[in-house]
Symmetry: C2
Subunit: 413 residues, 2 copies
Amino acid sequence: MNVALITIGDEVLIGQIINRNAAWIADAVTRIGCTVVEHCVVADDSSQLTQTIDRLRASCDVLLLTGGLGPTHDDITKHVLAEYFGDDLVESAEWMEHLRLWMAMRGREITLRNAGQALTPSTAQLLTNPIGTAPGLLFDRDDIVIVAMPGVPDEMKGIMRDHVLPLLTSQMLEGGKAVTQYHTLLTTGIAESTLADLIGEPDTFLNGSSLAFLPNYQGVRLRIGVTADSQQERDRERMRVASILRERAGRFIFGHDDQTLASVVGHHLVERGETVSVAESCTGGLLGAAFTDVPGSSAWFRGGVITYSNMAKEQELGVSSSDLLRVGAVSEEVALQMATGVQAKYVTTYGVGITGIAGPDGGTPGKPVGTVWISVAGPVKNTTVRFQFGTDRRINRERSVGAALGMLWKIVR
Amino acid sequence: MNVALITIGDEVLIGQIINRNAAWIADAVTRIGCTVVEHCVVADDSSQLTQTIDRLRASCDVLLLTGGLGPTHDDITKHVLAEYFGDDLVESAEWMEHLRLWMAMRGREITLRNAGQALTPSTAQLLTNPIGTAPGLLFDRDDIVIVAMPGVPDEMKGIMRDHVLPLLTSQMLEGGKAVTQYHTLLTTGIAESTLADLIGEPDTFLNGSSLAFLPNYQGVRLRIGVTADSQQERDRERMRVASILRERAGRFIFGHDDQTLASVVGHHLVERGETVSVAESCTGGLLGAAFTDVPGSSAWFRGGVITYSNMAKEQELGVSSSDLLRVGAVSEEVALQMATGVQAKYVTTYGVGITGIAGPDGGTPGKPVGTVWISVAGPVKNTTVRFQFGTDRRINRERSVGAALGMLWKIVR
């Protein structure tokens, strides 16, 4: 089943908003076996949207639209779809009732502007959206299914989960065609080209499956794509390819699919009955945020300290003031003392210390921007490593988090 | 000058990677006055890429491609472009020298796989990329400029800054056509529809300019689009519209363009000679990360504590153990004590405390998932507010950060 995504909105087109919705939807429909053939971002412009729908209708079974369903003058989606299908906009009594309740729960009166949200194309099926004022709109025709959803992520996700994913799943089961499914092995601590050499020429073992190398800040992901008629065949082929990859590069593989380094580290800590705490300088809370992004992390993550000044490093973590003077805050000594300091403070098995120069300023010839020291204090021994990243502040902070998680993973794996 | 973005890569298409590159490029070219007409994400598939280039060539002056320039078998971009323009792939001696140096600096030998990166289409101009192994490729034809760049964000940004943006700027100055520029006013603490009512019908004052309402976790942004031949005319119209918006909704406007709530709060703190520290539970470091994302934040952000357990709240912040027992960790009392505790610990003007239930588990009828208490302790008085967000863990954490920043902004503005 071929799916295309259309994102409507100048704010995405001009780069004011990152298109996270497209990634979420693409991932969700790929998981159930659909093939995403294109994402397209278009302006709040009726003729461009109409042309895009026409063009993609020729090659797709399903078009998923997000955006342009709000209450303001630049929201055009439902008007374009009504015209496209020759529909009138009619008031839905049911949706008006939803709007009244929605407003009442927030102690607000229904305004004319909000009431307009109950006007919907006459042949569209309304998809409930308990947390917003716009319903999803479903047009189910012989050759095409078109669904329009709000651009607000929470609302889009609710409509996808409650309506769209179940509908597509049932239509695919009826169809019984060959589908492609993806499975990903996650590596850390190895460069893309080194990993490619370790694995060797993919065509010698792929047999029609696909393999992609996908680098990000936490490592390189190996994505296996398998196409077959039945789930059983797909599972067998997937396991065959995965076992070859594990044989050749297994010591760098920390997990699979939507696991994260933080979630895998957390899983190992739970199994070992161990705990961790963090002391962050240049990452300023990002490592703590990565750990606490994992549901249930309170079982193994105890807490942390963000020491953005030398005084805080001394007072909160017991870092030596003479070392701060002698070798500076970005040093092996200070990273180690931050790690052991927070380990002792929170009485955890491991303490992680990060200190570095994220940029754009603060670099020196001996310690250029991108210099980061990371230390993991453990029950038996401590490990401290110097990293040299690039010049982009945000990326240096993210790579520091990835490197710290990779170091901890090697210890607890 | 009409620009379209083409992102090449299955990893983006199937949603494994969020298309941040497209947002960055779109923002950069919009700022210099280009009009972005479409983003398109396509597969690692030669015929789809060729068709997309053909289609967009008809309506665009510039196509900016990212992705598919790496050293592995699924990287197709340069092969497709060579075929599209009837070029051979030839070895660039200059790029081979770059590769040798690049490898030598990393203590590595040049491999056959890496050497392949020096093979480039014969009519392409190579754009230097000091931090990667693939050069940018520029095809400058009479009717179209096509630039292919690597998908690695750092490398793409370097090529855009060093080559593409200067080239487009000079071509636009030669052209002298009417251009559209955007300007954004940022609001916090007001809902989209309330803001729209406050501002009134845009058509009554826009005179051909455009206005869009763009909600995110930190508030609603008002984006003004102005089209005119000269910079002077654009500036005058932009200021006219902005002054109307400020007159009607000024008390909710905290900044403009790419400012963030954190950067604006930091700016006010510097002006007031004041400082802040944070005590985070459910956000686990995200508020500290937001503050330290601002370059130079060490001038006003002192540090923080991530207290993910009750014990840490007691020991590190002096939260009352009887209150923790009596009203629980997610309560007005505990949020306030976290705020005053961290304010005293780091000796800062303000202390911010956040405690809540991010989900997916941990909710109760009286405190459902999404319940968050936020307190700001100040020199004169303390403010503590209960928020009720949704059910998505990530979004609840981001909205908590936005709400805390909004509370602090109202105090220091």
